[in-house]
Point group: C3
């Protein structure tokens, strides 16, 4: 990487303040930047670094008001975070010009499978019977694609992903290593002798376009029909998605969250890490759930913010949590009140000889 | 799939109401069924669908009382859920007549390993020295079976399962993709300099018969002796079972639950998702634990139902949780009481000149 | 294994009480020991077994005071737990004299990769371009090592580990099956149309020396710079470590815990299972966190012990949790106080005709 500020400003459509010739050799976080670095400030709490950084170029928001002199060249853009992401993307594109292509050996491709153009299939990967791999797909080493699976254009399957029979993956989707798509849903019928009988799981999983799924996440196939992850959904690592769940467009779920069977999650929801959601409920579009919460019933109103286990209104829950820390004092206050009231009652009943109901 | 109602009723031993010739081409959920579908109603809350469904055949419980006219042919059976499971099973049997068999290449089978009859070993699977694979076992691609491992008859190991040395898997057991059996237990001895010394983990894991284990679950080997999963146990995805744990017959555990070292879980327990159970305790047979609970001490009485973290009696805990949501109001009530009592105390001490202890 | 007590005492530098010729054929837990077993007692609650065990040899602490006659030979050492670990280590060394070595086929080693001496590379493992595998490294079957990866001396990578491009693993480190090192961090910029744009993750993961990582854990690569796991850290199974996290020396984290992006955890911390830690905070050295806790802000003071979600001081939190169980009674006490105070107020306002503010 060897650019100057004016090249980057042109690429991003930004406005330069400072030397247009400042040399950029690498990207860095502003708090760690050294000479030659380009970095960005979008969050106000990092603004102070602008006055002390050794970075050569800093991307900032148009709206930034300076309170002192700055040494790096600034490039002003409407949204510094977005522009920086764009820059990183260009950078990685350059770095990946030697992107993987071709079919490495040994790999296993069933004769009845269909393989598109410009595909990468890494060594030790397995493509089962009747599966269709579209143009531009990259399947990294040691992945398993069962029978009758469809993988759409330019989708990237990292090393060691396992996709069971009959599942459908869309276009421009990314699945990280170790994720399991289409394992059997957890369905068993109790028998009178205490044993359980397996309910065959004959549905599949459908993952649409521009989805990203992290590492070691599990998405179970439907008992019947489909478990569905709609376009634009982003799932982090180690998430559990049970059978017949549906997650609608552009919902984002953080790591280690679990969604139980047949629950439908709306669009544009934001769900924190280690959240648990029971089965057979529905969450309205725009629902936001704080980390470690437990959701035990449907949320019908859009854009609610929830917290706690069981979860309720975020702001109220923070108050309850704050009081929880002081329950020992609250208990003492009640004890003291009881003593006082008992004493008052005694005084009054003595002096007035009235039955106070005690 | 192409049957008529009478064939299915005969298969299931059910009684027909409506046309015995109704054609069935596929299975569906009653709320999504189209013409040609067979579906079932076992849960009363789905009964209303019977009057509006376009399904051709519906399995229902003998005990169902109709309140209107129905269009599909009904097949009455003692337990519609069980019968439907049976039907699905027959259906999947038919679909899997072309079940995988044989040893795909390339795969790795140590010369000292023993391979039974009618076994499937998928490409890129590894069978280590002295391991014994019984008749009818199916090991999907990319699985790893270490040394001295035993896998019993008709057990199914899905793609990418890893089984460490010396572990024993029973008969008719199913292990889903990405599950790790026999990794080292988490045991370290603290040293005086703050470092930790690894305690070698020289035990194994024993999984008995008719067990099903979901995807990406981890079951650690014992420090000494065995970590044991008894017959009929069902474990969901992403569960952590630590070293020297024992789980007894027909216990069911939902996803993302963790069981710490040396804990013994009784028979026929039902444990929800994201539960945490501390080490070195014992749970009595029939214990039921609600999702996200934390169990920090032994449960000696059978069939208790527990909730919360730390967990206690389910019904009481629901009351505490309900009050928790109203802690801010409770705090205000106490504040108001304090004000009132203070005022009363003042009035009385003024009027009667009595020390009220305030 | 066939030793006598004197040989073991010599190996461990211990002092014998009882027959120096007692024969040892295997190791066992004291509560399960049979003749020929060697076992240990370090925890006082297991001391009673010393008087009834059938073990042939028992390792005990120097400080142990006997209250009766014992049948096995005792070997007294300063720390029986440490000595037993040492013994197990020697035992496993003996058992692993036939340790795996050499490069099994088929495996994939890029021509530009560098492979040290005495290395084991299992079948179906993949070593990408420009990666460096140091002397004595053992990579079990079905593992994936991307491009430009460095793995230090004597490190052990179990079956099916996936290491993305550019990551660095130190010396004498152990990574268990199914763990994913270097998957993309979870970073997306929201767009005005509700979609999310991926932030390229161009950093890496650095894991230092003598680290042990359990099975199916995920450690994401940094957006820029490095996610860092320092020397001596021990991570259990199914843990999530997000991008740009740092975990400092000799910190121990139990299973299913999640650490969010950019958080720095100090040295010698002890973090329980299923803990959640938010992003962008710092935990001081020696912080101890109880299982299932949630940490939502930085901990500046060293050696604090925390509990709860959100977490606060351990001892206070236990009191709050105890009171939580009795919230229904507390509510009744408040109700009763309100009734009494209302009655008292009425009595006084009637008898004294005073406005009590009610």
């Amino acid at each position: 990487m060897q650019f100057n500020a004016i090249q980057i400003a042109t690429l991003l459509g930004g406005k330069i303040e400072g030397s247009p010739d400042a040399k950029v050799t690498h990207v860095a976080k502003i708090e760690e930047a050294t000479e030659g670095a380009i970095c960005f400030v979008a969050n106000p709490k990092y603004e102070d670094y602008i006055y002390s950084t050794k970075a050569s170029v800093v991307l900032v928001n148009d709206s930034l008001q300076l309170n002192g002199t700055v040494s790096p060249t600034l490039i002003k853009v409407p949204d510094a975070y977005i522009s920086f992401a764009l820059l990183l993307e260009k950078y990685t594109e350059m770095m990946t010009q030697n992107e993987r292509k071709g079919i490495e050996q040994p790999s296993f491709v069933a004769p009845s499978a269909t393989i598109g153009k410009d595909v990468y299939i890494g060594a030790f990967s397995y493509i089962g019977e009747n599966s269709k791999i579209a143009d531009g797909v990259r399947i990294y080493p040691g992945s398993y694609v069962g029978r009758n699976v469809t993988i759409g254009e330019c989708t990237k399957i990292f090393a060691g992903v396992k996709i069971y029979d009959d599942c459908i993956i869309g276009n421009h989707t990314i699945i990280h290593s170790g994720t399991i798509v289409g394992g059997d849903g957890f369905g068993f019928a109790p028998q009178s002798n205490g044993e359980y009988k397996k309910i065959p799981q004959i549905g599949n999983v459908i993952i649409e376009d521009h989805v990203e799924i992290g590492a070691n996440t599990t998405i179970d196939r439907a008992t019947m029909g489909s478990t569905i992850v709609k376009s634009g959904v982003k799932l982090d690592n180690l998430i559990q998605i049970a059978h017949n769940v549906e997650i609608h467009e552009n919902t984002v779920i953080a790591a280690q969250t679990g969604v139980s069977g047949s629950t439908k999650i709306g669009k544009n929801c934001l769900i924190g890490g280690q959240v648990g959601i029971v089965g057979h409920i529905h969450l309205a579009d725009g629902t936001q759930i704080n980390a470690q919460s437990g959701i035990s019933k449907s949320i019908e109103t859009q854009n609610l913010v929830l917290n706690g286990s069981p979860a309720f209104d975020y702001k109220t829950s923070l108050k309850s949590q704050a009081i929880f820390r002081h329950l020992p004092e609250m208990q003492q206050r009640i004890q003291k009140l009881e003593d006082l009231v008992s004493k008052l009652t005694e005084i009054i009943s003595v002096s007035q000889n009235i039955d106070t109901g005690k």
